[in-house]
């Protein structure tokens, strides 16, 4: 068990969470809580994989995955923004629906065979850096590099650009933005769409790059929910989201790989000799999500920073309040 290889695979696997988490950050920054991430990821994973199988073109698969999940997210946008329904229930419904649809349309897909995958690159100079090079810049899928670019871009977009200013205003105080001519409804639809697109990209990252194939609900295995937890840990900041995403990716890999070797740090590997202890390892990502949430919540309480003020509240023009 090589720690570098685990971390390298962890970065790849963390890219899935990174996309989904940053997508949800955009949606929540605009004031819409979307609990449908798991459903959107499954839609993305399923549609991306089936398109890649049908056409042989994984790029087309990624594109369709993003579009499909983006369009799918608009159901939640319509229900929660236009019809002003409770965002929690609407998001849950989106997950139920996404799971159902992807199971129906993905029927038989698990036996569809191999698919041509997205290319894998090593970066010439950066790959030479000790430790960092092999972990981040060697034999990584092209989507992993897309992830690297997304982090600074998302940060810059949110804090240093006009659309970012409007995004924050709409999520913090929509009435103020509205009074200055910002179209609250349009922006919220748009960012829910972006959240869907990125969740779809996360799904496609699984099915076309990280662990190729379609394994029904087990394709995502709750990563959409972990992403929502990470948003709280990240305090709606893309850079913290990246840290959380990669850490969780590494944890997932560690859980898978730790059972392999006979010895661990010079001792007999207890997980090798007691394979059923693996069930406790399986709990780790979920238990860690809870722990990370506790840390995030404590920090938020202490620093008095919190969710975007209008998160979860439908905006109705002329009604007082947020």
């Amino acid at each position: 068990m090589d720690i570098i290889i685990i971390l390298q695979a962890g970065v790849a696997s963390g890219t899935v969470l990174l996309f989904a988490t940053i997508g949800e950050i955009f949606a929540e920054r605009s004031g819409v809580l979307n609990l449908g991430v798991e459903g959107m990821m499954l839609i993305g994973a399923m549609s991306g994989f089936s398109v890649a199988i049908a056409t042989g073109n994984p790029w087309l698969g990624v594109l369709v995955a993003m579009l499909a999940a983006g369009i799918f997210s608009q159901i939640h946008a319509f229900i929660s923004i236009t019809l002003q329904a409770d965002q929690v229930v609407s998001g849950l419904a989106l997950t139920f629906l996404g799971v159902g649809i992807s199971l129906v349309l993905g029927e038989g897909l698990s036996k569809a065979g191999a698919v041509s995958l997205l290319p894998v690159y090593s970066i010439p100079v950066l790959g030479m850096i000790p430790i960092i090079g092999p972990i981040f810049f060697t034999n990584q899928s092209v989507l992993v590099y897309v992830g690297y670019l997304l982090i600074p871009f998302a940060w810059y977009y949110i804090y240093r650009t006009r659309p970012g200013l409007h995004l924050r205003a709409v999520g913090e105080y929509p009435a103020a933005a509205d009074a200055l001519g910002v179209n609250v409804y349009r922006l919220r639809y748009f960012y829910v769409f972006i959240g869907g697109v990125l969740a779809g990209l996360g799904g496609a990252t699984i099915s076309l790059a990280i662990s190729p194939g379609w394994f029904s609900e087990l394709t995502t295995a709750g990563q959409g929910w972990i992403a929502i937890g990470l948003v709280i840990f990240a305090q709606w900041d893309p850079i913290r989201a990246a840290l959380g995403g990669y850490a969780f990716g590494a944890l997932r890999r560690l859980v898978l790989d730790i059972q392999g070797p006979v010895t661990l740090l010079g001792f007999a590997n207890p997980f090798y000799f007691n394979p059923y202890w693996g069930f406790f390892l399986q709990m780790m990502p979920y238990a860690f999500t809870i722990i990370v949430l506790i840390i995030g919540s404590r920090e938020a309480m202490r620093k008095r920073i919190g969710a975007p003020a209008a998160l979860g509240t439908p905006y109705v023009r002329g009604e007082r309040g947020l």
């Binding site: 006009r162 200013l165 103020a176 200055l180 003020a309």
Partner: protein, 524 residues
């Protein structure tokens, strides 16, 4: 229906805004019923009316937030149809809202830049910060462009609101109740700014229900009552305050309610050196001490946000105090559970009726038993005696004249005045020892205000100790036995007969001792 247009005036003067026959209906109410409104260049035009008269609806139409059902608007002689606030901004109309429309987590400059087209993407904030501070200096609106909104005082936030409008090159400024949050001295500064804007050729709509301010600042006055215009474009110099009052409420105002002369009794509430923090964990109360006796009303004046809410919460047990104690009839009630204060007879009329004082989707019955559901006859062991609860609610409905079809009706369907009656009925029915009333008449019409005043005085006669926290000085003068003023979490002094100048100085932070020692002619 005939609408009379003042044709001669239109030709003679320079009309920047004409609103004709504006009708706006909301479910159940006609907020604007064929309203006409004119505006000349370079004037301050007051829009006067009671709460709910339709002032806000009219200006929301003029700023593109609502769309009129019927009627037309001309700006600089051209007909306009606004489909969003952006359209109104584009023709030079800017609004300064009563409830500030500022994003607390963003800086002053960021708030000013929201909604503009330029720059399209990348923002170099430094450049804009410079522009903002220059603009501020021109109109005497000084504020740090890099400060986050939540760090600013209320007066500074108002300046940001005005800057926001000026930055967009507005020629017509609408200020909705701009003085409601200001102390008398800050009001003078605002009035200076308004005059300098008018000299600059801008026009100002000044919305208020305070007659003396309107008399002081405006050139002309339009009055609304129940959605209709009762006086259009009166010249301020031609009318008296009495005439305005009559046009505004439709009858001569008798604000003074009968207050019985009575001797206060024993000390009921004793507050000693209380320190408490606000929600942001900043000091909100810094050494407050006072007493209230049975059968007296202590009025607490002050500009909003100086610790009034926190004080009320400490007294009712909703907020902990770091230092000091609160005693009720000699027993400590500070830092004990809310339930304890309720059981000892503390009634609390919160400022926010819908968000704190009531459960909107629950019935009138469920709302009136909120404080006594733990005690018989409403409670029967672990269960709630439904019949007893219903009888109790019906009794209150009759004695407090709550107009509602049945006591099963959810309270969200009640009008503001009726909802306030539900809350008063609940709080007063327990024969309270102490009543903490925060802004008990805010947002109510004149009739309802009078009713609330009568109920408060009745409790005073019944021997309750009452702390009345209000921003309406007239209300405090009419009801209180003593008046005290809070400023930044400290008491500035206490008077039996208040006069508005001294109270005003105290509201802006001058302690009473200092005022007395310097004499009344001092300028602070």
């Amino acid at each position: 229906m005939t609408t009379s247009y003042l044709d001669s005036e239109r030709q003679n003067t320079d009309l920047v805004v004409e609103m004709r026959g504006i009708v706006k209906q909301f479910p159940g109410v006609i907020a604007n019923d064929h309203v006409d409104f004119d505006m000349q260049r370079g004037e301050i035009h007051a829009l006067l009316g009671e709460n709910g008269a339709g002032k806000s609806t009219l200006v929301n139409i003029l700023t593109g937030l609502y769309r009129q059902d019927v009627g037309l608007i001309r700006v600089n002689g051209k007909e306009v149809k606004f489909s969003s606030p952006g359209d109104a901004i584009n023709v030079g109309i800017g609004m300064v809202h009563q409830h500030f429309m500022l994003v607390p987590s963003q800086t002053v400059t960021e708030n000013i830049l929201i909604g503009l087209d330029q720059p399209r993407f990348r923002m170099n904030l430094q450049q804009y910060e410079h522009e903002v501070s220059e603009l501020g200096q021109r109109f005497g609106l000084n504020v740090d462009p890099r400060a986050k909104i939540w760090q600013l005082s209320v007066g500074e936030q108002q300046r940001v609101e005005i800057l926001k409008v000026l930055y967009r090159g507005a020629q017509i400024l609408i200020l909705d109740e701009p003085t409601a949050v200001l102390a008398p001295q800050e009001i003078n500064v605002l009035f200076d700014t308004l005059h300098s804007m008018v000299r600059d050729g801008k026009s100002v709509v000044f919305i208020s229900h305070k007659l003396h301010e309107v008399m002081e600042i405006s050139d002309r006055i339009t009055i609304l009552r129940k959605g209709k215009v009762t006086a259009a474009g009166l010249h301020t110099k031609d009318v008296t305050q009495q005439e305005l009052a009559k046009l505004m409420v439709g009858r001569d105002v008798e604000f003074a309610v009968e207050k019985q002369v009575q001797q206060p009794g024993e000390i009921v509430l004793e507050v000693e050196n209380v320190h408490a923090e606000n929600d942001k964990r900043l000091p909100a109360l810094q050494g407050i001490s006072f007493v209230v006796r049975s059968g007296e009303i202590l009025g607490l004046a002050g500009v909003a946000g100086n610790g009034q809410r926190e004080l009320a919460q400490v007294l009712s047990g909703l907020r902990k105090c770091q230092v000091g104690v609160v005693k009720l009839n000699g027993k400590i009630i500070s830092n004990t559970p809310v339930k304890n204060a309720i059981n000892k007879g503390v009634a609390y009329i919160p400022e926010d009726r819908t968000h704190v004082g009531s459960a909107p989707n629950l019935s009138v019955t469920d709302n009136v038993i909120m404080k006594n559901y733990r005690r018989p006859p409403i409670a029967k062991g672990w269960i709630i005696n439904d019949d007893a609860a219903t009888d109790f609610a019906k009794g209150l409905k009759d004695s407090y004249e709550i107009s509602v079809p049945t006591v099963e009706t959810p309270v969200r369907l009640l009008s503001g005045g009726n909802l306030q009656r539900v809350i008063l009925a609940r709080e007063f029915s327990g024969e309270p020892v102490l009543i903490v009333a925060v802004q008990p008449t805010r947002g109510l019409d004149v009739g309802a205000i009078e009713g609330v005043h009568r109920l408060l005085l009745a409790q005073r006669e019944a021997g309750s100790a009452i702390l009345l926290i209000s921003e309406e000085l007239e209300e405090l003068f009419a009801l209180s036995d003593r008046i005290t003023v809070i400023y930044e979490g400290q008491f500035m002094g206490e008077m039996e007969e208040g006069d508005i100048d001294t109270i005003g100085l105290m509201m802006t932070g001058t302690p009473l001792d200092q005022i007395k020692s310097q004499g009344m002619d001092s300028n602070v």
